[in-house]
């Protein structure tokens, strides 16, 4: 220490001390500061920026440059990431053409692009987030829970989506889509956000456990082999009656015509 005290008045002591103090502060900061969060924030900002860029070219013509909505599309402020994930993840958005119904079609955007737009829309205002996978797994349910899921489904969903989830008609060219082949996550999101004409079912009325049971019921229902012959789409008496009238009555009429015909003659 004498070495230090002897040189404390040297002209280089002050700048050196300052330098040392700065280095020390920097070293402490680099150890203590949340470096990872800085990195994450940068990625999130980048994702939101990417989402905004995609939004501008894909969505803004109807929903407005700031997602404020307009005559062609509703405002997206406050709809949350879950809405974007559902609408784009099922191919309903971007809309192919305006009409009574947003139709499910093949998804042309990558999961990353959809996540970016979802992040951008979620950043505008708080809204329902993309659900965690454990709330919609539909797995590990007891038979009793699946049966209860069926009861909840028939009470709350079957009025529009039909008793086996194959969808049904609504007024004015609209329809409730089939639930066959729909991802668990999208069923969960649709229940929570109420897309298009579908009502919302909030956690106050249907808890996450209830929804999981409904998903478990649907998965089991649709996994069961249908061994009853032609199911004709499973949409109930309309298709069955149509089949009966057209094919059944049609062939009877054909036989009656054949019976009454005189047939070929020799001259």
């Amino acid at each position: 220490m004498r070495f230090l005290s002897r040189r404390r008045r040297s002209p280089g002591a002050k700048p050196l001390t300052l330098l040392f103090a700065l280095f020390l502060m920097g070293a402490i900061y680099s150890v203590v500061s949340p470096a990872q969060q800085v990195a994450a924030d940068t990625t999130k900002d980048a994702q939101i920026a990417q989402g905004k860029a995609l939004f501008d070219v894909t969505c803004s013509s109807c929903h407005g440059l700031n997602a404020e909505g307009g005559s062609q599309g509703p405002s997206l402020i406050g709809v949350g990431a879950a809405s974007v994930d559902f609408q784009m993840g099922t191919g309903r958005m971007p809309l192919a053409h305006p009409g009574a119904q947003a139709v499910r079609k093949p998804v042309t955007y990558t999961a990353d692009e959809i996540a970016a737009i979802a992040a951008y829309v979620a950043d505008l205002a708080p809204g329902p987030a993309i659900p965690d996978p454990e709330v919609y797994s539909g797995e590990g349910l007891t038979e009793e829970e699946i049966a209860r899921g069926g009861e909840l489904f028939r009470t709350n969903c079957s009025a529009c989506h039909n008793f086996e989830g194959s969808g049904g008609a609504l007024p004015g060219g609209k329809y409730a889509p089939t639930l066959k082949g729909v991802a668990n996550r999208h069923i969960y999101s649709a229940i929570r956000i109420g897309p298009q004409q579908m009502p919302v079912f909030s956690k106050g009325a249907l808890t996450d456990a209830d929804v999981n049971e409904i998903i478990g019921y649907l998965n089991q229902l649709h996994a069961q082999p249908s061994q009853g012959g032609f199911d004709l789409g499973g949409i109930g008496p309309v298709s069955e009656g149509f089949w009966g009238w057209l094919v059944g009555m049609g062939s009877l009429v054909g036989v009656a015509i054949w019976l009454a015909k005189k047939g070929a003659r020799a001259k």
Binding site: R148, E151, L152, T155, N156, A159, C160, G168, L170, P171, K174, A176, G194, Q196, Q197, M198, P199, V200, F201, S202, K203, G204, A205, L206, D210, P225, S226, Q227, G228, G229, F230, D231, W258, L259, G263, A264, R265, A266, K267
Partner: protein, 357 residues
């Protein structure tokens, strides 16, 4: 003119009595199987062939019945079915079909097909026959003694008539007589009353007003339903079923008389269609229309449940609701009008009509 003296009028000129000339029978043209021996043999072979296939099919049916395991399935495109059922149906059905086809083929190709006329006979019997039957009948009446001891006939008619009375009384008492007083305590009332909590159907969870989001639909029942059991519970459940919806209060019309029937846009309606009573919950959250799947009656829940389309004649009854001290939705009072389908004696003067305030 009776059929006896029906004459053939082919080639006779039209008269005022028969203005249309009788075209007579079409000229008979022989079939191929009549003139060509090879064609005749072919038709014969076809009929016998079809009938000969039937025993083979019948035996196959029995073999399939015993040999094909019950849990074997066929998957052929859209056809997924039990293999045994498909096999039995195909062999049995085809067998019966072939018998029918063979008979028709036989009749059309081999049986004689010369057309002929068989004139209709008169329905009236000859006068001698009629007189004989009448004499026979009078003799029977004479022997029965009814003409001299007439009281037997009268008392028999009275006895038979009175036997109908117990039967009519029993049949009439098979159900409840729907008198005005009886209707008032059965079909015209529900268990909804002041302070009864609205609970979720199925799990009976009470509904907090704060949990209701705009656009939300809840299929509800009264909490007091738990106090009933068996068929009584089923009856009360059927009448008391409701739907609770929340709409943006700015986007709906609430008449002054129903200002305090709702909780900031949360409205409650009967779930039973006023047409023939189907349960309805096909609700479009954007148009606020509620559609009945049975006959497409459509009610506007944003305008006190008036009918906007379909055969229903009356608005959907609205249940006045409020919140209790814990924030849960409760009924403010029971339904003000009878819920459910229409019937002749129903007093429909108090139903909400478009334009009411």
């Amino acid at each position: 003119m009776s059929g006896h003296d029906q004459v053939e009028r082919v080639g006779v000129a039209p008269t005022p009595e028969f203005p249309i000339p009788d075209p007579g029978l079409e000229e008979h043209n022989p079939r191929w199987s009549d003139v060509d021996p090879a064609a005749g043999r072919r038709a014969y072979a076809q009929v016998v062939g079809m009938l000969a296939a039937v025993p083979i099919l019948a035996i196959t049916f029995v073999v399939i019945y015993f040999a094909v395991p019950r849990d074997m399935y066929v998957k052929l495109g859209p056809l997924h079915a039990n293999a045994q059922h498909v096999g039995l149906g195909l062999t049995g059905g085809l067998g019966v079909l072939l018998i029918g086809l063979a008979c028709i083929h036989w009749a059309k190709q081999i049986m004689g097909d010369e057309e002929s006329i068989d004139y209709r006979h008169p329905a009236r019997s000859s006068d001698a026959d009629r007189a004989a039957v009448a004499a026979e009948f009078r003799k029977g009446v004479e022997q029965s003694g009814l003409s001299r001891r007439g009281l037997i006939g009268a008392s028999l008619a009275g006895a038979l008539g009175i036997v109908a009375v117990p039967a009519v009384v029993l049949l009439a008492d098979m159900g409840v007589w729907p008198t005005k007083g009886k209707r008032a305590v059965t079909i015209e009332t529900t268990i909804w009353a002041e302070g009864v909590r609205i609970v979720n159907d199925v799990d009976f969870k009470p509904i907090k007003a704060a949990d209701m989001e705009i656009g939300q639909l809840v299929n509800g029942e009264p909490k007091s339903l738990k106090e009933f059991e068996g068929s009584l519970q089923a009856t009360e459940r059927a009448k008391a079923a409701i739907i609770v919806v929340r709409m943006d209060p700015q986007s709906i019309k609430i008449p002054d008389s129903r200002k305090d029937w709702q909780v900031s846009g949360i409205l409650c309606y009967s779930k039973i269609c006023t047409h023939v009573g189907c349960p309805i919950s096909l609700w479009e959250q954007q148009t606020h229309h509620l559609l009945c799947p049975c006959h497409q009656s459509t009610f506007d829940l944003g305008e006190s449940g008036i009918v906007v389309f379909g055969p229903a004649a009356r608005s959907l009854p609205q249940l006045p609701i409020t919140v209790d001290k814990d924030g849960y939705l409760v009924a403010r009072q029971g339904f003000t009008v009878p819920v459910g389908p229409s019937y002749f004696e129903r007093d429909s003067r108090h139903d909400f009509q478009k334009g009411d305030n």
